[in-house]
Amino acid sequence: MAQNGTSVSIQDLSLSFGVVTVLQTLNLDVAEGEFIVLLGPSGCGKSTLLNCIAGLLDVSEGSIFIKGKNVTWEEPKDRGIGMVFQSYALYPQMTVEKNLSFGLRVAGTPKDEIAKRIARAAEILQIEPLLQRKPAALSGGQRQRVAIGRALVRDVDVFLFDEPLSNLDAKLRAELRVEIKLLHRKLQNTMIYVTHDQIEAMTLADRIAVMKGGVIQQLDAPQTIYNRPVNRFVAGFLGSPAMNFIEGQAETGASAAFKTGTVSIPLDRYAFDAAGNSSGPCVFGIRPEHVALGEAANAMPFAIDAAVEIVEPMGSDTLVWTKLGGQNFSFRVEAEKTLRNGEPIRIGFDPARASLFDSQSGNRM
């Protein structure tokens, strides 16, 4: 049974279409009022998982509990969930008000109750002036707000979002992201949110579940996932610009170090995972923003001489490409810094902030 305070509990869930396995014995517990983001590349099974929770797809094995009740074979409407879709999925020939009320009217909810719920949803989402309009007369952001309203009036325990912002332009996306965060704070509902956008995941989530191949790779708070990724896939998927990966060899002993070519990076400050091994061929990962330049580099536990290869100004800061142990290596500097191609520089970082992955399994060491 689900534990106390657990809103959604997924146990040993599997789903396959014929010979294709989409979800593999997946377990996930979502706490009451928690904001969980399912993050992953397309085809990783995150939307499929959400559809299973919603009851729109029948599972092959396992069970789903919502508020302690086994809903594995319940109809979507009986699960206490509301869902918001990427394409908004508003009923085009109905006004906003009818869109919000249609499900309630079909269910036979009393009229004054419907009016009350619509008034509340419209106030929360600030769509009162739009109630008599049809979806075609609304902007993308307004449509998505109405779609959220349709979930809101159903008075549900759990909100499911299926890439709700992917159809909007970047500016609107940022605005609605903040609105969804405010909405969550106001309503305190459990929310499960599917996206492939790591910024949405980082900013919204209490916990992120990074998925790949129908399996949750890591389920943790955003900062933990960012700083201590459990494997190379998670490390590479989160972060833009992406983490630097350098192939080499880890050596244990009194002077534990990572060696690649002539470069040796001391690992005495690196916290090895208790479960993993600590030697052998591996990949050394360090994020571009954790690399220091010049004077600051010398203050770091590890510093080395390098030469600028390419400079990529990105507006807010600048990405500089160089070589470390003969392999591509990038780091971030302030936009004001002017660096010329070929200029000799000194770079440094703290190996405690790095991540080491086993070359073979890809797991954190």
């Binding site: 919603a54 394409s87 999925a89 779609a147």
Partner: protein, 298 residues
């Protein structure tokens, strides 16, 4: 000046469309023009220019045969269009369940439409003929009292025509409506399920209204088929028994060819044109209003 002319009328495009323009002008405009013109004359076997005003129309509407034809076409039209739409939609919903062998089923349903109406009519005539078809077959198998011969009775012959019309037309209606159904965003279905709306209610209140375009296309195609229904009647009943299944097109052709009364025939043809023109004008107005609203909206 020259440049703008060439810009507007591409030479290959002009050459390509000239045959169609000639056909449209020659057959439709001139042909229809003469039909209307001769409907005001006393033309008998050959067209003359002896104008008699509305006399032919008065004689037309006094002719019982014409009145029966008009009644028949209303009945045939309403029944076959309604049933075609309903069956077509149900078939489309059935096909949309991602069934296996979908291509096979689609071919089966569309096959009647690929056949000429003459063939359809003959097939049904043979099947319903008391001495050749269903009745004879069942009697030969031993059910000697079996009686099923709808085409020989004035009361049932029209129903037989309607059934043949549905058999012929519901496949193409299905194809059009299926395309419309497939165009509906899958998320709409999901949203309706999450909202707890029953499937039939989703069809009636949400999906069907979203398929206005597909329904309009299917409806117009059906209407065109109904107004000019001729070959099906000729092949199945020849307008009989008596005049029980006469239709306006059958009536007009008989007046012109058999009864050598071109003037009155043309009056009938002009009357057939009238509802088409009304529908055209109506849809034209709708289109114009929609573009105006869109312009205002932008």
């Amino acid at each position: 000046m020259r440049k703008s002319w060439r810009h507007r009328f591409h030479l290959p495009a002009v050459i390509g469309t000239i045959p169609m323009i000639l056909v449209a002008l020659g057959v439709f405009v001139i042909g229809i023009g003469f039909s209307v013109l001769w409907s005001f004359t006393s033309s008998k076997l050959f067209p003359t220019y002896d104008f008699v005003g509305l006399a032919q129309y008065r004689r037309l509407w006094a002719d019982n045969r014409w009145l029966v034809s008009v009644n028949n076409i209303w009945f045939f039209g309403l029944m076959s269009i309604t049933c075609n739409m309903v069956f077509g939609y149900l078939l489309a919903v059935f096909m949309d369940q991602r069934i296996r062998q979908e291509d096979l089923f689609r071919s089966i349903f569309l096959y009647p439409f690929a056949m000429s109406l003459i063939v359809t009519g003959l097939v049904w005539q043979w099947a319903l003929d008391p001495n050749l078809g269903l009745q004879e077959a069942l009697r030969n198998w031993g059910w000697s009292s079996f009686s099923f011969a709808p085409l020989v009775s004035a009361e049932t012959a029209l129903y037989a025509l309607v059934v043949a019309g549905i058999w012929q037309g519901s496949g193409v209606t299905m194809a059009i409506l299926l395309a419309g159904l497939r165009g509906i965003d899958e998320d709409i279905w999901k949203a309706a399920r999450v909202d707890g709306i029953p499937t039939w209610r989703t069809h009636v209140s949400i999906v069907a209204p979203m398929m206005k375009g597909a329904f309009a296309t299917a409806f117009v195609l059906q209407c065109v088929g109904v107004v000019r229904v001729y070959d099906l009647v000729i092949a199945m009943t020849g307008g009989g028994p008596g005049i029980a299944t006469s239709m306006p097109a059958v009536y007009v052709i008989q007046l012109i060819t058999v009864r050598q009364n071109v003037g009155q025939g043309m009056a009938g043809a002009t009357m057939m044109l009238l509802p088409v023109l009304i529908v055209l004008a109506f849809s034209g107005i709708l289109l114009w209003r929609r573009t105006r609203r869109q312009e205002a909206g932008v």
